[in-house]
Amino acid sequence: MVNVPTTPADILPFIISIITSHTFITLVIFPGMIHLMLASAFLTWYERKLLARIQLRIGPLYAGGPGGILQPVADGVKLIFKEVIIPYKADRTLFTWIPLVLIFLGTLPFAVIPFGMNWVIANLDVGLVFVFATTSVFPSMIIIFAWASNSKYPFIGGLRSLFQQVAYEIPMWISALSVVMLAGSLNLVDIVKAQSKIWFIIPAFLSFIVFFICIMAELERLPFDLPEAEPELVAGWYTEASGAIFMALFLALYLKLYMMSTLTTVLFLGGWWGPSFLPQPVWTIIKTMAVATAIIIPRAIYPRIRVDMLIKIGWTRLLIIALANVFITLLVINSGVLSAWGL
């Protein structure tokens, strides 16, 4: 409880009490804004470095620190000072504001995603639904941005993005249903607590596979990066983005990558659970980076699939597997096989 200052002498203690409060620390420092900005910047460097290593290149090297780790800062400074070019007859308002909305949507799910028992901003009972609700707004914003660009390539990329994300959203939800059935809760903290004895990747392995493929498609990552297919669409739905707008879009995309990786960790990989020699949030971050690595690596390995194949896989394979998996999970729970682990 913070007391509101009544005299000038109380102002400094009041400010200190706010800054040192758990709410302020979780909201602003960790797992809040500062952590998210640093994590998304780190992911841009990490992806470039990892892909370079796979392709026997050096990658970022000269921009300060070991391995050019300050490359994201250099990129950020460059993009901020570049001219923002808004296409002829583009909708200026939407073109300028949608990137900020996407950043907001990328950060919002972290309000309910726990990094430790007490490292969560809002312990919401419907946390999982909240995360899915916020992520499902992404495709709408992307198609609006693509339309606002008043250009053919972004519009085709935006349509592809919409079709792809809609097709893979439902298998993703239904695969997460197995986790909800095992934990008996939509609260993400409760879901992680239920994995204290066994991670859900073991009893719900099929769900994990479906979920992982779906997040690859949701993130438009290879082999599902049709919305930004360079040989066909220049850069897809963000072809016309430049300067600070391009930076904001990239920040939003990497925030989404971090968010999906963290969500996978929380749902299937035991969240913060791990040997006690490391603090809980460190385990969450280590597992998240492992998932992010698994998402990034295919970019250096696989070719892009065709659009009809992509939609067909989503609707005719993953959806049916996800639905069948509901029955399998029900059978597994009712058979009592998991009773030894308290499930």
């Binding site: 809609v166 059935m181 009809d308 939609i311 005719t316 959806l319 029900l330």
Partner: protein
């Protein structure tokens, strides 16, 4: 895939997904017979899914 089966499947399964979540969090607390109804509901959903897939898998529709 053509627009019609696409929209049909999305609307059906988007709504169903939310119902299934409501069942998923409470199925341990309700009698097994009630869960059977949900499973029956899921099997019934196979009809629109099969219809949509039949439309979708026609070569000329892709």
């Amino acid at each position: 895939m053509q627009y019609y089966p696409y929209v049909l499947m999305f609307v059906v399964f988007d709504v169903v997904g939310m119902f299934l979540f409501a069942w998923g969090i409470s199925f341990r607390a309700i009698p097994a017979a009630d869960s059977l109804m949900v499973l029956l509901f899921l099997i019934l959903l196979g009809a629109p899914l099969g219809f949509a897939l039949r439309l979708a898998l026609r070569r000329e529709n892709w």
